[in-house]
Amino acid sequence: MSATAAAPVKTLPEHHYLNATYGIRSWLLTVDHKRIALLYLVSVTFFFFIGGFFAMLIRLHLLTPSGYLLSADTYNRMFTMHGVAMIFFFLIPSIPAVLGNFFIPLMIGAKDLAFPKINLLSWYVYVVGAAFTLYSMVSGGLDTGWTFYTPLSTIYSNSAVAPAVVGVFITGFSSILTGLNFLVTIHTMRAPGMTWFRLPMFVWAHYATSIVMILGTPVIAITLALAGMERLFGLGFFNPAMGGDPILFQHLFWFYSHPAVYIMILPAMGVISELIPTFARKQLFGYHFVAAASLAIAVIGFLVWTHHMFLTGQSTYAALAFSFLTFLVAIPSAVKTFNWVATLYGGSISFDTPMLYAFGFLGLFLIGGLTGLFLGCLGTDIHIHDTYFVVAHFHYIMVGGAIMGYLGGLHFWWPKMTGRMYPEWLARIAALILFVGFNLTFFPQFLLGYLGMPRRYHVYPPEFQVYNVMSTAGASILAIGYLLPMIYLTWAAFFGKVAGDNPWPATGLEWKTQSPPLTENFEVTPIVTWEPYDFHNRPDLGLDAVASNGVAPAHGDD
C-alpha cells in the first residue's frame, strides 16, 4: 500500500469515484462529496477567471494617469464586478466547498458528509445565485462597489443592482448549508478513535470557518433582503430621506463581511497547517494552540467589524473599543504563524511545490496581517483609509493568503483527487512566477496608498504613474502564474504520472485510502490509533530513518 515501496510502474486502482458511474446525470445528480467538490471546483474556477478578467481591465486602464481605456462609469462597474465575482463566488466557496468538501469526510474517516443531498443542494443554490449575478453583469453591470453601500445601491445607482443583490443573497444560503453540513459532520461522523484532538488542523480550521458561516451569513442575507426590498418596494430602513440610517446598513453588512475575511483565510491557514508538517517531516508545533487559535480568530473576528467604518461618523468611543479588539485578532494569528515557523525549526524541509506555496503564504500573510494593524489603528487609518494601502492590504490577505493556500492545497491533494501527479518542475516555476508577480502587483500599491492615491478612482495624478505601471506589469506576470497551474493541473488530471496512495508521504487519514478514493472513501471504516502529524510512529509511511534517529532522509526528486 505505501507509496515508497510501490512498483516502478504504478497504475490507477480499478474502481474509484471517478469511474464509478458515467454520464452527465451521474455528475449533476451525484451525492458523492468528492464529485460535488469537483463541481464546485469547475464553477469557482469559472468565476475566478471572470473576476481576473475584470482585474486585468482595471490594471490596463490604470496604466496611464488619464485612463484612456474605460469610461468612469465602466470603470466603476469593472471594480465592482471584480469584487463581487472574486469575493462571493470565488474566495468564500473556494477552499471550503472544494477542498473542504472533498477532504473533511476523508480526513475524519467518514463515508460522506452528514447530509449529502443538502451538499448537492448547496451547489445548486450556488449556481442559481451565480446565474442571477451573471445576469446582472451582462445586463448593464453593477457599479455600487462590492459593498452595496446604501443609499447608492438602493436609490441612486442605475445599474443592475437588484439581480446582483438577489444573486449574492441566494449564494449566501449555499454557504450556510455548507457550513451546517461541516459542523454536523465533524460532530457526528468521526471514525472510531478520531478524537477531537486527533483531527487534522484542516478540519479544525473548517470547524471554525463553519461557525463563522453559520452565524455571519444569515445577517448578510437579511441585510441584502432589506436593501433589495428597499430598492424594489420602498422600505425605508437605510434611506435617509425617510429617516432611515445608511450607517445601519454598514453595521449589518460588515457584521458578516468582516468575519467573511476569516471564511477566506481560516481554511487557507488550515491548508498551511497540513503542508508545513508534511514537508518539514515534523509534528505540528503546539497542536492545541493552533486549534484554539482557529476558534479564537473565528470568535474575535465577530467583534471587530466597525473598523471598516472608523470614518463614517460612528461614535469615537465605539471606535476606540473596536480598534482595541481589532488588535486582539493579531494574537491568535501570530500564535499560528509562530507555531508554523517553530514547526519548520529543525525539520527536514523539502521544497516541493505545495511547500513553496506554504512559504509564499507565510511571507505574504505576514505583510498583509501587519499592515492590517496600521489600518486598525485609529490615527493612521485617517490617513490611509480608502486608499490603495487598503487595497494592497486585503489583497495580501485574500490573494497572497487565501489563494496561495488554495493553490498549495490543490497541488498537495491533486494526486489524491485525480490519482495523478502534476509536472513538478513546471509547478515550482509557476509558484515562483506567482510569488514574484503578486509582489510586483501589490507592493507598489502600498506605496501608492501611503502617498495618498484613493481607491476606486479611474484617474490619478501623473506622479503616481511609475507605481501603477509596475503594478500592471506585475498583474500580467500574475496572470501567467494563474494560467499555468490551470493548464498543467488539467493536463495532469488526465495524463500525469500515476501518483500512488501517498506520494509525499503525509500522515492524514485521507492518504490511507487509494488515489483516487472509492465512492465510499474507505473499504472498511478505519480505526485511528495514532496522533496527528506523527511521523515517528508510523511505519506504514515507509520512513524508517525517521523512526530510528529522528532525521528524515533527504527527498529525492520525484
Binding site: L215, F255, Q314, A318
Partner: protein, 118 residues
C-alpha cells in the same frame, strides 16, 4: 456519540397542557401590561414576558430541557451572538456624539438638515 440516544425523553401531554395554559395566561398578561403606563419600562416588561414564553417553548415544546449539553450550548451560542450583533451595534449609537457635540439620538437634528442629504 452514543450517550445522546439514551436521553430521548417522552414529555407527557399533561406537561404540554400546563405549558400552553401558562403561555396563554402570559399572553393575556403582556396585553394587560401594555395598557398600564410604566414609562420606559413597558418595553422591558413586554420583552421579559416574551422571553419567559420563548424559554418555555424552547425548554418543553422543543425538548431542550431533555437534550444533550451540546444542544444547549448551541442555543446559548445563538443567543450570545444575537446579543453581540444587537449590543455591539447599539454601543456605537448610544455613545455617538456628532461633530457639533450633539449627543445621540439626534432625530430632531437630522430633520434640520434636509439640504445636506443631497
Amino acid at each position: 456519540m452514543s450517550e445522546q440516544e439514551h436521553s430521548e425523553h417522552i414529555v407527557p401531554p399533561s406537561t404540554y397542557l400546563a405549558i400552553i395554559l401558562t403561555l396563554l395566561v402570559l399572553t393575556g398578561t403582556t396585553v394587560g401590561a401594555a395598557f398600564v403606563n410604566l414609562g420606559r419600562f413597558n418595553i422591558v416588561v413586554a420583552l421579559a414576558i416574551a422571553t419567559v414564553k420563548a424559554t418555555l417553548v424552547v425548554l418543553f415544546f422543543m425538548h431542550a430541557k431533555y437534550s444533550p449539553k451540546r444542544t444547549k450550548l448551541i442555543i446559548l451560542a445563538g443567543i450570545f451572538w444575537l446579543a453581540l450583533l444587537l449590543g455591539m451595534t447599539l454601543s456605537d449609537y448610544i455613545t455617538r456624539v456628532d461633530y457639533r457635540g450633539v449627543r445621540f439620538p439626534i432625530s430632531q437634528v437630522t430633520q434640520q438638515l434636509p439640504a445636506q442629504r443631497g
